[in-house]
Symmetry: C2
Subunit: 255 residues, 2 copies
């Protein structure tokens, strides 16, 4: 694939058209090699390609296919990708077919499904995926306004967890309506909710996080069945959404 074409994959529109996405850096490339994603091309420094020779062989054996390898300089990797420096590589991979709302709701009957309502920062989204997967929460629904899962900065921040989660982008009104019909808990996180240090938290249903700037939306509030608060002991006005998600997921798994 030409450098020009690779660079277009930093734009959501081109990712959507091609069904491809970029995976940058050592850790995430190693993770995708052992996942069920299909890798189309792998650009790497000669050193890095040598280091992961075995992983590439294992991938090719299990998938019965070859990866097109390109030896690429660090400078060229920086030009192609979003990193300030990259002494490893960039993989071009195929996006996976998305799951259905029905299967997300099936999951929400037995475990927590995260819902991200307008989370805009790719670092925050990627970090939430990584944290959720640490706590064994692998299903995530995002609003159409949430940053794209296949954004390369999201993928980078997941530190490999992108290979082990299932996501769906959907209009949240539809999601909440369907959840309500199934009488699933719809839980939001908000300053005015029940103190998580003093509450037993539901072990299934939807756990909704709002945007960095506006918190939980009116729509989510109109459907929520419960709201939880992280108690504050100092003067900061709010918590970063990915930190708040971590604290709530930890509270959840204490139950």
């Amino acid at each position: 694939m030409s450098p020009k074409k690779i660079k277009t994959l930093h734009e959501k529109r081109h990712r959507k058209e091609s069904g491809l996405f970029l995976v940058e850096g050592d850790k995430n490339i190693r993770e995708i090699l052992t996942s069920d994603f299909t890798i189309v091309e792998l650009h790497g420094t000669p050193d890095f390609l040598k280091t992961i020779e075995r992983e590439i062989q294992a991938y090719e054996m299990s998938k019965k296919t070859r990866i097109t390898l390109h030896e690429t300089s660090e400078a060229e990797l920086v030009r192609l990708g979003s990193f300030m420096s990259n002494n490893a590589g960039i993989a071009i991979a195929e996006q996976k077919s998305v799951t259905t709302l029905e299967s997300m709701l099936e999951q929400a009957k037995k475990d927590i499904v995260l819902v991200l309502d307008d989370v805009r920062d790719p670092g925050n989204f990627g970090t939430i995926i990584r944290t959720a997967e640490w706590y064994g929460v692998t299903h995530i629904i995002t609003s159409p306004t949430t940053v794209d899962f296949y954004n390369s900065k999201v993928i980078t921040a997941t530190m490999g967890s992108f290979t082990r989660v299932t996501t769906l982008t959907a209009e949240l009104e539809e999601v909440f309506k369907a959840a309500k019909e199934l009488a699933l808990p719809i839980v939001t996180a908000d300053m005015h909710g029940q103190n998580i240090h003093e509450t037993t938290i539901t072990q299934h249903g939807l756990l909704v996080f709002g945007s960095e700037s506006h918190g939980v939306s009116q729509l989510a509030k109109s459907y929520m069945t419960n709201t939880l608060a992280i108690p504050r002991f100092g003067n900061a006005e709010s918590l970063n959404v990915s930190v708040a998600a971590g604290i709530l997921l930890d509270a959840l798994r204490r139950a």
Copy 2:
């Protein structure tokens, strides 16, 4: 101050020489106006300066001094600062005199003092400051290799909490030695520690977080009196350091 001089404040060396630093964007400028920091200059869009007129007056009244105001276009604010877009402003402020190791250790006798050992990412450091302050932990010691507190990306990520914390950069060997002599708890966070869901956590002493890539250092390990683990329920290999700090601080305040 000339645009050229302002831009030099993105470099640690120039911040050190001048004793000045940059504060960017609406939230952080509002916070510094009500803090005990001294503001040297304020560059803002005409609209933003109008919006914060009262806060500026209150600042000038209480400090019995005037802030030099400059009406500046959004484009110029972007050129001067580190934001991709900035429709508010940039303040130039004086750094505060640092505290002593002795006063940090005094604090550690009665409450938790955070120690950041080689945290490199400004977003992580800023988010840790914000979270610590949410939990009422206001004293933070950093290793010389940790990103500079006055880095404008650190300041931005604190969401105003930088005005309410006390920091000290020190050689950690010296810090740990002094803490050991005082028999203060030195607690690290590590995968192999005691499960925080099953442990009572000390309410004073040093709580140490290691680097994004290498975790807790050998030095910290050689001085630690206890180590705590955040239990894992899924497959992610690690947590982001600012998320881990949030989960540990929350666990601490449950006690």
